[in-house]
């Protein structure tokens, strides 16, 4: 009798135990964004490709100028409270500054420097430095011009060399990713890499096809569709653009 009762309780206890385990896993799972193992995630940089990143839903819209800098390595989520799909480090070429394109309670959605173009990710709004860029850069690939705005007022408009037909400058919104001086490019060492990549070249010159704004020694390229995707600008424009904060929005359209 005793044996019979004991044996029939075992399945019930086992199931209860299982229920407990499932509940614990469920509760832990619900808070997983707080315990993300960053070492397992790919860092979003100009050299990486993260195909699971949500794409920019408003690729030609402006923003209010908010830019953020992650003080430490931070996880990137596909939506607020959803799964982490990648991470972003505090430095790229210099400090990482990313434009905020959307905000939700405790979360910000930023543009990313990794491939594919128009990648975005959500960051928890903690351990972030916030700043505001009053600048906006516009590139028009048909009229082959670059415009710089400060607080909505034009600081200048210059003829620029843009991508040739087979290697177009990718349309959409991206951002100023870095400000570098590359002495391997002796004729035009000042380079401002953007968050975008060539849509037709997987690699270029040993790099990932990063699109940049930079100078050019000869003026005949300004106003021509001639480059492998980069935006070649006159010296005077470059001097202005070098003062523009990192993370500033760059809107590229086909006008």
């Amino acid at each position: 009798m005793r044996d019979e009762r004991g044996s029939s309780s075992i399945p019930a206890l086992a199931v209860l135990l299982l229920l407990g385990v499932v509940a614990v896993v469920g509760i832990m799972g619900g808070k997983k964004h707080q315990t993300v193992d960053l070492t397992t995630l790919t860092a979003s940089t100009t050299a990486t490709t993260i195909t699971t990143a949500p794409l920019d839903a408003q690729p030609y819209a402006g923003t209010d100028g908010l830019v953020v800098h992650p003080r430490t390595e931070a996880a990137l989520y596909s939506a607020p409270d959803a799964d982490a799909f990648a991470k972003i480090g505090p430095t790229q070429f210099g400090p990482t500054w990313l434009p905020v394109v959307e905000q939700s309670d405790g979360w910000v959605r930023v543009l990313l420097p990794s491939k594919p173009n128009r990648s975005t990710g959500w960051l928890q709004d903690q351990d972030l430095d916030r700043a505001s860029s009053a600048y906006l850069i516009r590139v028009h690939t048909s009229s082959r011009t670059i415009e710089l705005f400060l607080n909505g007022k034009s600081l200048g408009s210059w003829k620029a060399g843009v991508g040739a037909k087979k290697t177009p400058t990718p349309p959409g919104r991206t951002f100023l990713l870095g400000s570098i001086i590359d002495h391997k490019r002796s004729a035009s060492p000042i380079v401002l890499p953007l968050g975008a990549h060539s849509p037709t070249l997987d690699t270029f010159g040993g790099g990932p096809g990063t699109v940049a704004i930079h100078g050019w020694p000869r003026p005949d390229v300004f106003g021509a569709a001639i480059s492998a995707g980069c935006v070649r600008v006159p010296k005077v424009a470059l001097a202005h653009l070098q003062k523009v904060p990192l993370g500033t929005l760059v809107l590229i359209d086909s006008k």
């Binding site: 009762r5 505001s132 991508g163 037909k165 177009p168 270029f204 010159g205 995707g229 904060p245």
Partner: protein, 297 residues
């Protein structure tokens, strides 16, 4: 029997609990809408049918992206790169270097009498000469029988120029980008070349049409809402020969968002302006970093 009843009930309850909990725990956050979000770069119906290429569809709200570097072999249209992306309630298409009717005009045999006229154009006053009404040979395209009068030329020298040095295509577009998010969307079109002439787009506003009749009717930025609440935006619709061939370029459909926020009732009192958000400091001027990074040049 009674002694076994308690553990059995307990077992049943526990199993039900596990099943219920598992169902709740694994329930998806959003529900896929009736019509999924989808996008495609090129499709054609008519004499030269082309299936939607590349085509992306999101049935579960997860983002799907497909790319194609070329279309199925056909005599009508070529593209160099197309990417279609569909997500929860967003979709987009990017398309580069679209050519319709490649090398088609160079195959035209010019009627001998026209060739004769063209070679003996007077040096002055030729602009006033009438355009002869000569039937054009079959272009192998789904177009009605065309005559020289149908070509978009102003005068005889223009016509001679068009036929003797034919453009590379009927229509070429260097880039086309379309996107939607919820029930909104937009179109960005690069330069458009019709019979070798760059055509200035009157507008990319919704429902604009391009004057290219009777060769083609070109509709820009067609938008429409479906009965299930989904929204479709199409970059360009090119109708050749009054419906004999309809080419659709860059079309994106956004399904109804999984959980649409319920509209808040309008306040009866005048709305109090929201308190100003904290003003972040001005972003710093960057310090150039000495490094090497290959960029696209």
């Amino acid at each position: 029997m009674r002694r076994q009843l308690a553990p059995t009930v307990l077992t049943v309850a526990a199993v039900a609990g596990v099943v219920t909990f598992s169902l709740v725990a694994s329930a998806p956050v959003g529900n896929a809408a009736a019509r999924p979000s989808s996008a495609y770069a090129v499709s054609a119906e008519g004499q030269v049918p082309i299936a939607r290429t590349p085509y992306a569809e999101s049935l579960d709200g997860m983002r799907q992206t497909t790319s194609a570097l070329e279309l199925p072999k056909n005599p009508l249209i070529s593209v160099r790169a197309g990417t279609a992306t569909a997500g929860n309630d967003s979709a987009s298409v990017e398309l580069f270097d679209i050519v319709i009717g490649p090398e088609i005009l160079s195959q035209v045999t010019i009627p001998p009498e026209l060739k004769q006229t063209c070679s003996t154009l007077p040096t002055t006053g030729a602009d006033d000469l009438p355009i002869p009404d000569l039937p054009l040979p079959d272009l192998g395209l789904p177009l009605p029988q065309l005559s020289t009068k149908d070509l978009p030329v102003k005068n005889l020298p223009d016509l001679c120029n068009l036929l003797l040095t034919p453009p590379k295509s009927l229509l070429a577009i260097d880039s086309l980008s379309v996107w939607c998010s919820g029930d909104q969307g937009g179109v960005d079109i690069g330069s458009l070349t019709l019979l070798g002439q760059t055509v200035k787009l009157p507008s990319t506003k919704q429902g604009a049409t391009l004057p290219a009749a009777p060769l083609a009717t070109i509709k820009v930025n067609a938008q429409g809402k479906h009965s299930d609440g989904s929204f479709t935006i199409t970059g360009l619709t090119i109708d050749l020969g009054g419906g004999t061939e309809v080419i659709t370029l860059a079309s994106a459909t956004c399904a109804t968002p999984a959980a649409k926020p319920t509209p808040t009732p309008k306040p009866t009192q005048p709305q109090v302006p929201a308190p100003p958000l904290d003003h972040p400091p001005a972003a710093p001027v960057p310090t150039p970093v000495k490094t090497h990074q290959p960029v696209t040049g």
